[in-house]
Subunit: 147 residues, 4 copies
């Protein structure tokens, strides 16, 4: 969070490219990036003191993915330690959008994109608004700065 | 290919949801759809008499993915026989875009999106135009109809 | 089923090696063979008129894996159409053991092994004996032949 | 390394169970354990100052898996932080066997097994003996203790 009017929450997490995740081009398979995005958002929530496991198990809320978009800038190689940078640019309401950038060991952008999820009450299988405990955790990072 | 001016190539392929592809929500994990998209485009090429394996091995051309977008309409369940419908709406030139729709057993849309790839000459690691043999195979489906 | 005293049930199913399943050696990743074994046993059950999905959903029986062993004889390549041959050599009782052989397009053995599962009643989370409907389906293939 | 005659090398590494690795039973899918075993042995090598990536890329040696066996003791749940304990009980010669135990957060055994690999010179595609640099790194842990 830097500068005037910058309201967001960002979290970084590292993940190594494993052999089973490479393909015969020798790169991280394009289909495994969605797994990185998931790791990014789950670890971001953990950094706020929220575990997705508890959201499902104890609060009965699940977050199915509604849309995903990514662009592939350069390949990631076997054994590279990638940095997954996950950012919330807005407070969630009826949905939550995580912006993700994946960097390689030289801090070059490998992949960037976003994923949008909704909140579903498991008991009724209905979509709900972002739960209060999540909003409360995030609010401090989204205070209006200036005026 | 139906009707006036409709120029495209469409291919359908079926794939069952396997246990290892489900997650604890009981659905096909969102990260596995990229695998379905790959199956769709590879089988479309095969339907044209082109194998991606040979493109890589014999012609030294690979097709890295540049961008991917998908929306998730409804979940796919374990053991469902999904239909992957893959469509080319334009002849490829410097890139090729596959439009994909995934349907469940009741023929309801599960997921839709598109994936854009480029052609790379493996020897030089440079992007090239779509190779002639591919254009030749596709041309009959993209003839101007009418006027 | 051929010959004197041969009592077993065998089923074959084909599965192509997909790009995302290869690794940078250019082979089917060793960790993906367990997925093939699962496909083999599920399709064997389907060939008997039993779907694993229904066993879980309607009969509340699940089959967790207890042990797995495999040897890797030769690599499987991208895009190869593998044949998964799954065999029951004995009627199941408190457990069920599937013997699996994976062959490549030239009918050479790629991988062989076995996987042992138990029957668990989901409601009580207790192990049970193989359910009657399964035994009934299998019995005809395990009749003593000769004397 | 404890006690008289105990000559071995053990390494521990932690890995969290990710959503995409669970199945609809709510457990880590049985097919993903091979991935854990790979992580275990790669990180053990790294703890010795050896990266598998360099072995392949710079020394042209690859280690295909020849056999794998595992037993599944209890399920691992979503989001659990597993400990992969990887042990060499003997100095490698024509092959190398990693013994693996996976423990859950309560330090209960989840899965145990072993995986045997051979050394292949990529240029000739022939099996070779364990390379000297590996033996040298391991020797100190396998000195005869006592008499």
């Amino acid at each position: 969070m830097e500068g005037f009017g910058e309201a967001m929450y960002t979290h970084k997490f590292q993940k190594r490219v494993r052999y089973g995740e490479t393909d015969q081009m020798g790169y991280l398979y394009y289909g495994r990036y969605a797994d990185l995005y998931e790791i990014g958002r789950v670890e971001m929530l953990r950094s706020l003191g929220i575990t997705y496991r508890e959201m499902e198990k104890e609060m009965g809320i699940m977050l199915p993915v509604k849309s995903l978009q990514m662009r592939f800038v350069r390949p990631a190689n076997y054994d590279e330690l990638l940095t997954i940078k996950t950012t919330l640019r807005e407070l969630p309401d009826s949905d939550i959008t995580f912006h993700v950038e994946v960097f390689n060991e030289k801090n070059k952008l490998v992949n960037g994109g976003s994923v949008r999820l909704v909140f579903v009450e498991m008991e009724t299988n209905k979509t709900i608004l972002a739960p209060d405990f999540l909003i409360e955790k995030l609010k401090p990072y989204f205070k209006e700065i200036g005026n």
